[in-house]
């Protein structure tokens, strides 16, 4: 986007030719390989939590250090508050999955505000879709395991609903649970990170455009303050996106637990 801004003839054009929005999300492959920056970052989103957790827990100290405390806090939070707190009885066996998606999404999201990276890998549809499909398969599998065919029949012909409404509610439930849930889970994460990334890119690129490319002495007084304003706003949004990154990882994990819980304990 900055490259596009630099080539823009803003003196003679009222509106510059818009950059292809895909440039914000797609990167060319490394020279001589089939590997792109995004794929490297996806692998990095797995390696970073693995390394941090390894160094956090390898000493198994009775009196934990700072890194161990952080890792233990995250693990016990997901285990106690989400796996056991939301799913309840039987939730402990889903703890590894919930901790994994939380850490993976968290690091992937935090790439958005990581200096020199500034690109959340979860803003690529592949990751949210893949993770939401895993959650989807888990809760459908758990539902069928717990209730057998009753899981589907209860969705289609929901108990406790007036018989006249059963067909309508059944269709809504079926579509809601089996079709909307995985996509809403994926799109929520994807859309939040795309919006954040676009917003940050626009604000900071605009700041760069106004400050670094003033277009001559006559424009400096007019454009530089505007650029500084964009930059300041961009920094504010930067902090906001940091919170969004953590929150979205939590929401994705929490909703996965909620969906599993509805299959594991349908009586609730």
């Amino acid at each position: 986007m900055i490259t596009a801004a630099e080539t823009c003839d803003f003196i003679n054009e009222v509106v510059c030719k818009p950059a292809n929005v895909n440039e914000l999300f797609e990167f060319s492959n490394f020279a001589g390989t089939e590997i792109s920056r995004t794929e490297i970052l996806i692998v990095l989103a797995a390696v970073i939590p693995v390394v941090l957790v390894f160094f956090g827990l390898r000493k198994k100290s009775v009196v934990p250090g700072k890194l161990q405390s952080v890792v233990e806090s995250i693990f016990t939070f997901v285990k106690d508050e989400i796996a056991l707190g939301v799913i309840g009885r039987g939730g402990e066996k889903f703890t590894p999955y919930l901790i994994s998606i939380f850490l993976f999404i968290l690091v992937g999201n935090l790439f958005e505000v990581a200096p020199l990276i500034n690109f959340p890998v979860t803003s690529r549809m592949a990751l949210p879709l893949f993770l939401s499909l895993i959650t989807y398969f888990i809760f459908v599998f758990v539902g069928i395991k717990e209730e057998g065919f009753g899981y589907i029949s209860h969705l289609v012909w929901p108990p406790g609903v007036p018989i006249a409404l059963k067909p309508l509610v059944g269709v809504i439930e079926l579509v809601s649970v089996l079709l909307v849930r995985p996509f809403s889970l994926a799109v929520r994460l994807f859309a939040n990170l795309v919006a954040g990334h676009v917003m940050l890119s626009l604000l900071l690129a605009s700041a760069y455009f106004f400050i670094v490319q003033p277009g001559g002495a006559d424009y400096i007084l007019a454009k530089v303050p505007v650029g500084i304003a964009w930059f300041t706003l961009g920094l504010g949004i930067y902090g906001f996106e940091l919170i969004v990154s953590i929150l979205q990882a939590y929401i994705f994990t929490l909703l996965s637990a909620v969906y599993i819980q509805t299959s594991l304990h349908p009586e609730h």
Binding site: N22, I42, V43, F54, K60, P64, A126, L129, F130
Partner: protein, 178 residues
């Protein structure tokens, strides 16, 4: 500067619609599956067991420390009770010693007072007896003196008086002296 609307629309049509963003790229999907598998197996097979082991070790250490603290506390309470008992015994011993001391001092005082009284009484008695003896001696001497003097006077008077008058006078004198 007029905005050429047709130009802008044409530019917009030429530019990408962004629909590609909604479609997952196969290579990224593969990378995502591999990456997530790494995280999941690491958490499942190593991290959670390590965390559980750490927490169990910590729990047992805390339990051990609590037990040790309770034992130490019990030992301290026992020592304190023994100390209190010792202090209590020492107090009673001190009190006994003080009482005994007081009693001894009191007895000594009484003995001394009694002895002093006895000595004083003996001194007084001795003084009385000495006084009596002195008194008797003085009286005796006085009587002797009086007798001698009477005899001398009587001799002088007798030489000038009749025998009967002498005898009457002597009797009267003796009577008055008595």
């Amino acid at each position: 500067m007029n905005i050429n609307l047709e130009y802008l629309l044409a530019e917009a049509e030429e530019s990408s619609s962004g629909i590609d963003l909604l479609l997952p790229a196969t290579s990224e999907l593969v990378a995502g599956i591999a990456a997530f598998a790494i995280v999941f197996f690491f958490i499942w097979k190593w991290a959670l067991p390590a965390l559980n082991e750490t927490l169990e070790t910590r729990a047992s250490a805390i339990e051990g420390q609590i037990k040790e603290a309770e034992e130490t506390k019990a030992q301290a309470e026992k020592s304190k009770a023994e100390y209190d008992q010792l202090v209590s015994n020492a107090d009673s011993e001190v009190q006994t010693i003080i009482d005994e001391g007081k009693a001894a001092a009191e007895k000594l005082k009484e003995d001394m007072v009694a002895k002093a009284k006895q000595e004083a009484e003996s001194i007084i008695d001795k003084a009385k007896s000495d006084s009596e003896a002195e008194k008797e001696r003085v009286a005796s001497e006085l009587k002797s003196e009086v007798a001698d003097l009477s005899l001398e006077i009587s001799q002088k008077v007798a030489s000038s008086m009749s025998e009967d008058d002498q005898k009457k006078l002597i009797d009267k004198f003796i009577k008055d002296m008595g």
